[in-house]
């Protein structure tokens, strides 16, 4: 973000962002897109809780409620949590490994726009009046029977967004394998980079099956196939397997980067090296591996038979071991440290008890016979919100406060940050703790209302109050962001003063080429090592100042994704309108033209001249 960019007109700025392949701008756009969908998903959550405030409530109708739960789950997982984490991965990971951009900047932009168009496609269903209503799991007997275009929006929207996810995952993998600075060996990579690496590997293996599954669903619903129609020889259980083969690793795709974020925060704000780094790396890889072995624990009640259930039960419990290793290593990181309770640290400290509670209920559900009782009851609702809100969302908020100064050059208010935390944290436990008991008391999940006289009233009332508190907390965060941006007090390279990893050795925000000189990495927590040895900049260059090769921006990814978006509407309305088929073909044509343009046009990037880099250096007083 050079000073030249700020003098441009509004239109030019928008065009600059639309065509940007800079990992930092793409990261910020992922973050903004994700936060937008997070707000949508949050509003859906509030409506769900308000409907369940009292028995026999009629705030929303039965059909609308199913649409709300479906869109809440789908939005939060695929369009909010994952893209927000992608935002941080995009922005921070290349900085942490000392790279100037990701390996495939063009693909990075393509992934972003596919996510945005996929997300918009899915949410446009609200305006068309046909909203997905078969749950985020979209079990096919119901999804095939679902009337209107709701589940078509689900299948096509997720297909487009899922393509973007896969692209992003591959990109991160290649970046981490190929673009590490000299000296940055695998076992010197910061924990957040490691978890990004493993989560990306999970994406690589988990999303292709889901892509196939979504194509099958699309063909069943829109083109007369019968993959999931048992009366025609299809099978609905196959969908459940396909879904959970993606769906279970998906939760690790979310939680592993969250673990990475907390690992960074614990060690920075305890001023101490991460305890048992190599055990942490090993545990991360092991969790990723075991994550693929346990999908059928979502299907204990499907009737797979005792042998399958027993195997998946034991495999599921086994995951508790590496996860426990992580928890204890975090505890030993702060043990003997010098703990400063900043807002990010507060989230990290709140995370430990919350996530442990979510984790242990997961092990309980791993006991298959017990799961026969807990499955699809409110207990499971409590469990997965404990891991996803208590793990992933707390990590997202922590990262937002922690990396905000790096990304935007200004510090979020610590005071308001703590207010956010207390509202959100207390609200969270108030909402979900009691839901464990609702499950024990026999309340099934996904019910749009409940009768009086079943002993569930008070608990549901408390739960809704908690949800409202979470909404208050989030609102304070938004206010915090607005005030901070308006005040715009600039910060230095290392505003937390205890930064340990390479992102804290560059200006906040970093210049568009990140590093004037590629850094030399001398160990784990390289910036900390440099600082301890008296090098205040925290940075030793590995090369003289030379011309820097950078990629060109491009509008092509935008049009490629737009083509798929248009084709999606064509596919959906093909059967019932005369224009559907034409739109389908035109949309695909647009994508193909954009692809061929990319293929025939040589784009070799450009060089930032040495003189320009030196000029930048000088204007900042010679420091990095």
């Amino acid at each position: 973000m050079s000073s030249v960019a700020q003098k441009r007109g509004f239109g030019a700025t928008v065009y600059d962002w639309m065509t940007s392949v800079d990992h930092k701008k793409v990261g910020i756009m992922y973050l903004l897109g994700g936060l937008f969908f997070f707000i949508l998903g949050g509003i859906e959550a509030m409506l769900i809780r308000l409907q369940l405030l009292t028995p026999n409530n009629d705030l929303v109708s039965a059909g609308l409620f199913n649409e709300l739960i479906t869109m809440h789950g789908t939005t939060m997982i695929f369009l909010a949590a994952m893209p927000i984490l992608f935002g941080f991965m995009n922005y921070i990971m290349p900085l942490q490994i000392g790279a100037r951009d990701v390996a495939f900047p063009f693909l990075n932009s393509l992934g972003l726009w596919m996510f945005i168009f996929g997300g918009i496609f899915l949410n446009l269903s609200w305006f068309f009046g046909h909203v997905p209503d078969s749950g985020w799991t979209s079990y096919t007997s119901l999804a095939i029977a679902s009337e209107g275009h709701g589940m078509d929006f689900y299948a096509i929207g997720l297909q487009i967004a899922g393509g973007g996810t896969l692209i992003a995952g591959i990109n991160f993998l290649v970046t981490i394998i190929n673009m590490r600075a000299p000296g940055m060996t695998y076992m010197r990579m910061p924990m957040f980079t490691w978890t990004t690496f493993v989560a990306s590997a999970l994406i690589l293996f988990a999303f292709p099956p889901f892509t196939i599954g979504l194509f099958m669903l699309t063909f069943d619903r829109m083109f007369g196939a019968n993959f999931f129609d048992h009366t025609m020889g299809g099978n609905t259980i196959i969908w459940e397997h396909i879904f959970w083969i993606m769906g279970h690793p998906e939760v690790y795709i979310l939680i592993l980067p969250a673990f990475g974020i907390f690992s960074e925060i614990f060690s920075v704000f305890a001023r101490k090296r991460l305890f048992g780094y190599s055990a942490m790396v090993f545990a991360t890889v092991l969790i990723g591996f075991l994550g693929f072995m346990v999908w059928a624990h979502h299907m204990f009640t499907v009737g797979l038979g005792p042998t399958a259930n027993a195997i998946f039960a034991v495999a599921t419990m086994a995951i508790a071991v590496p996860t426990g290793v992580k928890i204890f290593n975090w505890l030993l990181t702060i043990w003997g440290g010098s703990i400063k309770v900043t807002t990010p640290m507060l989230y990290a400290l709140g995370f430990i008890p919350s996530f442990v509670m979510g984790g242990v209920t997961g092990v309980m559900q791993g006991a298959a016979p017990l799961d026969y009782q807990l499955h699809d009851s409110y207990f499971i609702v409590a469990h997965f919100h404990y891991v996803i809100v208590g793990g992933v969302v707390l990590a997202i908020f922590a990262a937002l406060h922690y990396w905000w100064p790096k990304m935007f050059g200004t510090m979020l208010s610590e005071k308001l940050g703590k207010v956010t935390f207390f509202f959100f944290f207390i609200g969270f436990h108030l909402t979900f703790l009691i839901q464990h008991w609702l499950g024990f008391w026999g309340m099934p999940r996904r019910v749009w209302t409940y009768m009086d006289g079943q002993g569930w009233n008070a608990a549901n009332y408390i739960s809704t109050i908690g949800a409202l508190m979470m909404a208050v907390g989030f609102t304070v965060l938004v206010i915090n962001i607005i005030i901070t941006t308006a005040k715009n007090v600039r910060v230095t390279n290392d505003p937390w003063e205890d930064g340990r990893t390479l992102e804290w050795a560059v200006p906040s925000p970093p210049p568009f080429y990140n590093f004037t000189q590629t850094p030399l990495v001398r160990g784990l927590d390289t910036v900390w090592i440099e600082k301890m040895e008296g090098n205040k900049s925290g940075f030793t260059p590995s090369e003289p100042v030379v011309d820097i090769h950078m990629p060109n921006g491009s509008i092509i990814p935008f049009f490629m994704s737009l083509g798929l978006f248009i084709a999606g509407f064509g596919a959906m309305y093909r059967a019932e309108t005369t224009w559907g088929l034409t739109v389908l073909i035109l949309g695909l044509l647009l994508s193909f033209i954009a692809m061929s343009l990319r293929s025939v046009k040589d784009d070799l990037g450009y060089y930032v001249k040495k003189e320009e880099v030196l000029r930048d250096l000088k204007s900042k007083g010679g420091s990095n």
């Binding site: 499907v302 039960a313 426990g324 043990w335 010098s338 008890p353 309980m364 016979p369 009782q373 079943q454």
Partner: protein
């Protein structure tokens, strides 16, 4: 702020404890008050895993609280640089091996009960005369109601399952339209009713439902199945074996209910408008378009969840979509008030227990 944190922790602990002590739920639908062997096995597993997990939470919270108190920068001074410890192999081993042991302690009973609860080998057993030794109930889940057929006894009922106490009752489960899940929380865990295959399991009922608040256990559909998923309740009546045998005999006797000439206006109207979907004789086979109404007068609810009154019955008949959106029964608006009264009275009179 630390004080606030600690205070809140104490408060939450107290709150959790209160909830725990207050809350075992209601006898007719709580998994914490198991009314049968299967539910009790699962409850024991719950207690075992909870105990181990509370132990884990206790250890974590202890280390956590101590480090939070001891290692604060405000105490140690702004300039304190802690020792940069790399790790400890001994500790890593300890917190790998102990969890493995804890997991094994949970894994063994889990596997044992998985096989125990999955054992339906006695289902098809017959005695010397070729009669089934065990009671088998075929359950068909439909948009939004439940059909219960007793194949060996030749009777069908709906919405209210009637079973004998203190013996294994075996179930064949299937769905007729979309996937549902059969769950009687107080008696035992759920099993899905898939569309393409029959799932089998057993439950044991050990408590007489007469002693319960409504005289029935509550059953639930536990898989999202459409707009009225929340309303797809059923009820379960348990009784001693002798009483159950009487009930079966009475049910088998309803075969001659289908008279040539109607004796009341209600019966006549029913025969004109309703009999196409709803049988009033319990003798026959499953697969009807609507719930069998042979025992309607004995039931606890109208449409699975509404009060069992003539008033609610008439509301239901005249506007089915209002009360159970997405269900397959059309609304009957053509009846006059008088005709509705007659139908309601007729239906309420359908009983085998009175």
């Amino acid at each position: 702020m630390m004080k606030g944190l600690k205070k809140w922790r104490l408060f939450s602990l107290l709150a959790a404890l209160t909830v725990f002590l207050a809350g075992c739920g209601q006898e007719e639908l709580s998994t914490l008050l198991p009314a049968g062997e299967v539910g009790r096995d699962q409850f024991n597993l719950l207690m075992l895993t909870s105990a181990i997990m509370l132990l884990v939470i206790f250890v974590v919270v202890t280390i956590y609280v101590i480090s939070l108190i001891r290692f604060r920068r405000s105490k140690l001074g702004e300039d304190h640089i802690p020792e940069q410890v790399e790790g400890s192999h001994t500790l890593e081993l300890i917190w790998t091996i102990i969890p493995i042991i804890l997991v094994l302690i949970m894994a063994v009973p889990s596997v044992y009960y998985t096989y125990k609860l999955g054992d339906v080998s006695a289902m098809d057993a017959v005695d010397e005369d070729g009669n089934a030794e065990n009671l088998v109930v075929d359950v068909t889940a439909k948009l939004y109601w439940w059909e219960f057929e007793y194949p060996d006894l030749g009777i069908v009922t709906a919405q209210e399952l009637v079973v004998p106490m203190d013996e294994k009752v075996y179930f064949n489960l299937i769905a007729a339209d979309v996937k549902h899940s059969f769950w009687i929380p107080a008696v035992g865990g759920k099993l899905d009713t898939n569309v393409e295959n029959v799932n089998k399991f057993y439950l044991v009922f050990e408590k007489d439902s007469k002693d319960l608040k409504d005289g029935v256990f509550y059953g639930k559909c536990a898989e999202l199945c459409g707009p009225s998923h929340a309303l797809m309740d059923f009820k379960v009546k348990t009784m001693p074996r002798a009483e159950f045998d009487n009930w079966v005999t009475a049910m088998q006797a309803t075969g001659d209910r289908v008279a040539d000439t109607a004796v009341s206006q209600g019966e006549e109207l029913f025969a004109q408008s309703c009999i196409g979907c709803h049988a009033v004789s319990a003798v026959g086979e499953s697969g009807a378009a609507g719930p069998n109404l042979a025992t309607f007068g004995d039931r606890n609810r109208v449409a699975g969840y509404m009060d069992h009154t003539e008033e609610d019955l008439k509301n239901w008949i005249t506007d089915t979509q209002k009360y159970k959106p997405g269900n397959t029964m059309p609304s009957f608006t053509q009846f006059s008030d008088e005709e509705l009264d007659a139908i309601a009275a007729y239906l309420m009179g359908l009983s085998v227990e009175k």
